[in-house]
């Protein structure tokens, strides 16, 4: 049987099944109200990140953000880093990390190149206060592997990106699809990642270990100013 025949057969069986035994769906209850994003949003985010062993550092200026990133690099013993090309405060970051080797992702062997970096620096479109999830959208200047291959991942979170929970995701994705000239209209970005804490496993004896395939350390720097 070919894949096309399979398709027809499957769809016909499904249709016949529903015709023989119609399935009516009662209207679901309304979605409960989400957390409201108020002046304590950073504190809420910090509190939900803490049990995940993720520290949130707040920065009021680009220079302070860069200092935080340099501190993290020192604490984690990083000698090299890779970053997304279009970060806020990118020049400040590079200056603060001048002592480290910057690895450039190249399209032919992006993963091979980034597997050697000690620290990956990215930027979140949003952060979910309910779960502490960072929302990263991949793109031409934003390889997925920067937040995945290095043992330490540092993520910048803008103040305007603080949202309540995962129910904000559909709108964010649609806005992104509509606004970004790089994508055909209506098409979602090729990859969106929700990142919630470091990579983890408890597969051996149910003992929690951080950093099994992805980064074992995740640090968040909150950009507490209005990005233009």
């Amino acid at each position: 049987m070919s894949s096309a025949n399979a398709r027809e057969g499957i769809l016909a069986t499904l249709r016949a099944g529903l015709a023989a035994a119609p399935l009516s769906v009662p209207a679901p209850p309304a979605r409960p109200a989400s957390l409201s994003v108020g002046p304590d949003a950073w504190a809420l985010l910090a509190a939900v990140l803490e049990p995940l062993e993720v520290r949130l550092r707040l920065a009021a200026t680009p220079a302070e953000a860069a200092r935080h990133v340099a501190d993290i690099a020192r604490e984690r013993g990083a000698a090299s880093y890779a970053r997304w090309a279009d970060l806020p405060a990118a020049a400040e970051m590079d200056a603060a990390l001048a002592g480290l080797t910057r690895l450039e992702p190249n399209p032919s062997g992006c993963c091979q190149a980034l597997a050697r970096a000690d620290l990956g620096l990215t930027f979140a479109q949003a952060a979910l206060m309910d779960s502490g999830s960072l929302v990263l959208v991949a793109g031409p200047q934003r390889p997925r592997s920067v937040s995945l291959l290095p043992p330490t991942h540092v993520c910048l979170v803008p103040r305007a990106g603080l949202v309540a929970d995962v129910s904000a995701l559909p709108e964010l994705l649609r806005r992104h699809a509509a606004a970004s000239g790089a994508f055909p209209q209506g098409l979602l970005p090729s990859c969106l990642n929700l990142i919630t804490g470091p990579s983890s496993t408890a597969d051996i004896e149910l003992v929690l270990v951080r950093g099994v395939h992805g980064p074992g350390a995740l640090d968040v720097v909150g950009l507490d100013w209005d990005l233009e």
Partner: protein, 492 residues
């Protein structure tokens, strides 16, 4: 290892007597239940979120054919090639074909029950490829040559010493070199710490990710309106499998579709909390088509395989189709007294526990699964646990009915059901039978009643009461025994 639910009775019997297994299961099921319980306690509006997740799944089933067509269209528009597989053999053929077309030598796999269901690994290996399970637990059971034993924690049955011994014996096959800072695998001691073992696996598999030509994963949710696949995990191996190799194949069982991004979000609100007690799993990836021009990583070629393998037939069954709502959180396994006692392997299929007994019965040949719906106490713990409100006991009873209708206990069963409904006739019948056969042990051997042996075989009549004189005698003896220590007390 050949696994088959046909041996369910025998295997569960064996598992019951395995004290180590019992201890491990006890520990694991308690651990998961405690984590989940703590997470749900602080989950505001829990029941409403559960109801919304159920509604999202129900909506998907109620419009399954049109949503799958829409998914095909949107995924194709995003650049993904969509394939339909009627059964396991066809799915294997499609995926092996894709692998051969891209000249794959090394294949990395993210944890997925559905690729286990279609027995993909042996097919790819037979085509000359090297296939690596990359979820730590799956990697360990792959090295051990065993099937996974739990949806969420495939190797809960292995101790750290087991894992150390396994790595010592088998990791050499990976041709690893230069594990700086780690004990070499030959002198890896049984006392190696769990983080050390984990790091060793990370290094071993990192090489495979970077060398892989093809990544194969399952699908947690496929979004019909956008053509996206959503993958949920904690380790990062699924992200690696979709980011590094040039080709990605996602295999979905056809019920995993959701109509909209909103429905997917409602499901994501509940799934991680119910599975592992996390507010969100470490990594949730929403992937739409291959990498775009100018992007530097991610698969260049993406495929989506829509697998039926018996599911479409279930949609016509008003009661049984509830099983298709399941999003595999694994919570009902941990709550089930039978699973807690016998574990996953005894079920003889990829799917274990309450939902496993249901799915296997629905998807596998009837003659192999007839015992599964009977391995259930109907206690209802699964139903109370399931965030999607699946009524497992009701489905279990429906399956029992099906089994009985198709097996030879018809006449005996009908007679018994008549007698059970008419107490007077029951007493008369049993009295008459007891008069000729006091312990009712000749009954199964009675000729001329088709199916009677089958029916009686699995039932035990109550023992006859002892006459009062015998009871009195026993009572006296017992009294004498209990008196003794009392009188001896003063001598001590």
């Amino acid at each position: 290892m050949e696994i088959n639910p046909r041996d369910f009775r025998e295997q569960s019997e064996k598992a019951c007597h395995d004290a180590t297994l019992r201890a491990v299961l006890d520990h694991a099921t308690r651990y998961f239940q405690a984590k989940r319980g703590a997470a749900l306690e602080t989950f505001a509006d829990r029941e409403t979120h559960f109801a919304r997740a159920r509604a999202a799944r129900l909506a998907a089933l109620s419009r399954l054919p049109e949503l799958l067509e829409q998914l095909e269209q949107t995924a194709t528009a995003a650049g993904t090639r969509v394939h339909w597989a009627a059964d396991a053999a066809q799915a294997r053929e499609i995926i092996t074909g894709i692998a051969q077309d891209c000249g794959a030598k090394v294949v990395v796999k993210g944890k997925s029950m559905v690729t286990e269901e279609i027995a993909l690994n042996p097919a790819l290996e037979a085509a000359g490829m090297e296939v690596w399970e990359t979820d730590l637990g799956e990697f360990i059971v792959q090295l051990a040559g065993e099937p996974p034993s739990h949806i969420i924690a495939p190797c809960i049955h292995k101790s750290r010493a087991d894992v150390a011994a396994l790595f010592r014996a088998k990791l050499g096959l990976l041709g690893l070199s230069g594990l700086d800072g780690l004990p070499g695998q030959e002198n890896l001691s049984d006392a190696a710490s769990i983080p050390e073992l984990t790091l060793l696996a990370r290094k071993a598999l990192r090489e495979k990710f970077l060398a892989a030509d093809l990544g194969v994963t399952g699908v947690n949710i496929a979004v019909a309106e956008t053509g996206s696949v959503i993958l949920v995990e904690n380790e990062g191996n699924i992200r690696m499998s979709t980011t590094c190799p040039p080709v990605h194949v996602a295999v979905m069982s056809l019920e995993k579709v959701a109509a909209t991004l909103e429905d997917a979000a409602d499901i994501l609100r509940v799934l991680p909390r119910s599975a592992t007690g996390q507010k969100m799993s470490s990594y949730v990836s929403v992937l739409t088509g291959p990498r775009r021009p100018n992007e530097q990583d991610g698969a260049r070629e993406t495929h989506l395989v829509i697998l039926d393998n018996g599911r479409s037939e279930v949609l016509a069954e008003p009661i049984l189709r509830e099983a298709l709502l399941c999003f595999r959180c694994g919570a009902c396994l941990n709550s089930c007294p039978v699973y807690q006692t016998i574990g996953g392997h005894a079920y003889g299929s990829v799917y274990s526990g309450p939902i496993g007994a249901l799915l296997s019965s629905l998807l596998l040949p009837a003659q192999d699964t007839r015992d599964l719906p009977f391995g259930c106490t109907l206690c209802g713990a699964c139903k109370r646990t399931c965030p999607l409100g699946i009524d497992h006991p009701r489905l279990m009873l429906r399956l029992r009915e099906r089994v009985c209708q198709s097996s030879g206990t018809g006449l005996a069963g009908a007679a018994h059901s008549f007698l059970a409904l008419h107490p007077l006739f029951y007493r008369l019948a049993v009295g008459a039978a007891r008069a000729v056969d006091p312990n009712l042990d000749l009954l199964p051997r009675l000729p001329g009643f088709p199916g009677l042996a089958n029916f009686v075989d699995t039932r035990q009549p109550p023992e006859l009461k002892k006459p009062f004189s015998a009871q009195l005698l026993r009572l006296r003896k017992k009294q004498a025994r209990t008196k003794k220590p009392h009188t001896n007390k003063g001598d001590a």
